[in-house]
């Protein structure tokens, strides 16, 4: 199982969200984590916003991975949001963003968190994966996409196991 599969509960996947700005997306993300994990929404909002001020977490190709540290959080937790209409994100390619993976980590950043980020970056770099995320209509299907994803070099091993 990949690192991402462990930290993304199906309940934290939100499709077709209507948000008109980055700020609104962060508000909605706060709400999501408050309802599902009991993390105060203002804490999520402030953390994501503060991190974004230091430099955009937009990756290009319509993808962003906003992340932040949360005081008191025990382990990393993620959420996936697909927007109905893309929003401006100051991404390196200047394109607005509609696929967002929100990642919250405990206050003490560790090597693990960097590994998670790099795995996310790898996932979203895969064009076919992005296409599938855009086309899937069900939360369950999206969840499966994330949990079943394997890094390219592991693909062969997986096939061998099946």
């Amino acid at each position: 199982m990949t690192l991402i599969a462990k930290l993304l509960p199906a309940a934290n996947i939100c499709l077709g969200l209507e948000a008109s700005s980055k700020k609104r997306v962060f508000e909605q993300a706060g709400l999501l984590f408050e309802n599902n994990q009991g993390i105060a929404r203002s804490q999520v909002f402030d953390s994501l916003f503060a991190r974004e001020k230091l430099g955009s977490t937009g990756l290009g190709q319509g993808v962003a991975i906003p992340h932040g540290r949360i005081k008191g959080l025990k382990e990393a937790i993620g959420g996936f949001v697909r927007l109905e209409t893309p929003v401006a994100f100051d991404a390196p390619d200047g394109r607005p963003v509609n696929l967002l993976f929100v990642l919250l980590v405990p206050e003490q950043a560790t090597e693990l968190h960097l590994q998670i980020l790099s795995e996310l970056a790898q996932m979203f770099a895969d064009k076919a994966f992005r296409e599938q995320l855009l086309q899937a209509t069900e939360v369950a299907a999206i969840h499966t996409l994330f949990t079943a994803w394997q890094p390219a070099h592991a693909e062969a091993q997986r096939r061998a196991a099946v």
């Binding site: 700005s21 700020k23 909002f45 230091l54 430099g55 990756l59 991975i65 992340h67 540290r69």
Partner: protein, 475 residues
């Protein structure tokens, strides 16, 4: 960034002008339709007509989606009210208010999130007052800016023949002042910036920008021109907000004469100032200036809110023999026209006062922004975050950093934590130490360094900011 600016006055329009060129989405709110119209004709922004303190108007301005609210109307109450509304109704993340009255500054608790919810407050009048006070402390300087709580100063000085360094190469500075680490970051010659190196020869008339520890500023200035004697007599024309604040803070140490045209205001000033002499009259009245010995003045300050008036009265004072004249000039075109002519220093109040505000607007962690040469150049204090992987500056030598042409790292303020063992208990106490590092080509930037970058052209600022932003992998 989505930004709402409340108030299309001098401060509001300067901020808008400054931000509109960068990738920002700006909406300006004001009740004055012609003023908004004029702004919209000139700048690429959206305007909303209405009362800035009304929820409905804020909603129309896009408060629901905005990243930043800049409340700079002329009314403190409107600004405070707008911040509260923006926080309560629209969860607007960052709110800045202009507060002119000193009353609020005495009660900072009023600004916290449970009250007016103002994240940062600015007072343009106070900033301009402080700016002029620094010019009085360094009578030879054209501009003085402080960094790192006053430890480090940037001074602009016009080189005058006879200064030991004038006519010589910059590298001679090290021989002249072997114990002082000072850095000449830029030279303007006939209004054109020259990025200096050790071989550059300083010519008379050059406007030289120099960074040094504050206690060394005078020694460095003395290299560029003969030092003036300290100021004693000061005449201020215009007893408005700035004139009054300034007179009040100077009257104990200097002989201050303050000219105010409006009789009721003059009476107010006379009863609130204890040793400054308040004169009621016209600041462009030659007879009055003569009768009050303008020719004896070390400094004449024209601080009314009328540009033309300030220009005329300071020109007149200069001709009549005032040693140094300074004029407040709002219109930048006028200011550029008269500075370095017969008026010694032209100050654009809006440019002076928006620096503290711009620091919050810029991307990345920007601790301070100072506008130089009336907005043409900028000095930035940027905080470097991250490590060699996530930052384009941290862990690199100064000569490895890919600064855009026209930008230069002038100094570094390094904070280091020292462990102090508290003897009585066994608790370890950390003491933060700040020191100024004058960088050489092989100085390595450390995380959390405050880096002072001089941008000779405002157009390179955005690229400098981008350079200091952290990469994707930063937590």
């Amino acid at each position: 960034m989505k930004i709402i600016i409340l108030g299309a006055g001098q401060v509001g329009s300067s901020v808008a002008e400054n931000l509109v060129s960068e990738a920002n989405d700006i909406t300006v709110v004001d009740t004055d339709i012609p003023r908004l119209q004029a702004m919209q004709d000139r700048l690429d922004l959206r305007t909303v007509v209405g009362n800035a303190a009304s929820p409905h108007v804020l909603a129309q301005a896009g408060a629901d989606d905005a990243d930043l609210l800049i409340a700079v109307t002329a009314s403190d109450q409107t600004n405070l009210c707008a911040c509260r509304i923006a926080k309560t109704l629209y969860n607007l993340p960052t709110r800045i208010a202009r507060l002119r009255s000193m009353d609020y500054a005495e009660h900072p608790e009023l600004l916290d999130d449970s009250n007016f919810a103002v994240d940062f407050s600015i007072c343009p009048e106070q900033e301009v007052t402080d700016y002029i006070k620094r010019l009085i402390a360094f009578p030879e300087a054209l501009q003085v800016i402080e960094f790192a709580g006053g430890r480090l100063s940037l001074v602009a000085v016009r080189a005058v023949g006879g200064g030991p360094l004038v006519g010589r190469q910059i590298k001679a500075l090290r021989e002249h002042l072997p114990d002082i680490d000072a850095r000449i970051v830029a030279i303007y010659r006939n209004d054109t910036a020259i990025m200096p190196d050790g071989d550059t020869v300083i010519e008379p008339g050059d406007e030289v920008f120099c960074l040094a520890a504050s206690e060394h500023v005078r020694a460095v200035t003395a290299e560029l021109r003969r030092l003036d004697k300290p100021m004693r007599r000061i005449m201020i024309a215009g007893g408005g907000n700035i004139g009054y604040r300034l007179a009040a803070s100077l009257e104990d140490r200097y002989e201050v004469k303050l000219i105010e045209h409006a009789r009721p205001r003059a009476e107010f000033l006379a009863s609130n100032l204890h040793s400054a002499l308040v004169l009621q009259g016209d600041t462009t009245d030659e007879m009055l200036l003569e009768a009050e010995n303008v020719d004896d003045m070390d400094l004449y300050l024209a601080l009314t809110n009328d540009d033309e008036n300030n220009i005329m009265s300071s020109l007149m004072a200069k001709r009549m023999g005032a040693h140094r004249v300074v004029a407040l000039i709002n219109r930048r075109a006028y200011a550029d026209l008269v500075q370095a002519g017969r008026i010694d220093i032209a100050i654009s109040p809006a440019q002076v006062s928006i620096g503290s505000l711009l620091a919050h607007v810029r991307r990345g962690d920007v601790a301070a922004v100072h506008s130089l040469r009336r907005g043409a150049a900028e000095a930035l204090e940027l905080v470097a975050h991250g490590d060699r992987k996530t930052s384009k500056v941290v862990g690199r030598r100064v000569d490895e950093i890919r600064l855009p042409e026209g930008a230069m790292i002038g100094a570094i303020v390094r904070r280091s934590q020292r462990e102090v063992l508290a003897r009585m208990s066994d608790v370890t106490v950390h003491e933060t130490e700040e020191r100024v590092v004058m960088p050489h080509h092989d100085t390595v930037i450390e995380p959390d360094d405050h880096v002072i970058v001089f941008c000779a052209d405002r157009r390179v600022v955005a690229r400098v900011e981008r350079l200091f932003q952290v990469g994707f992998g930063f937590f």
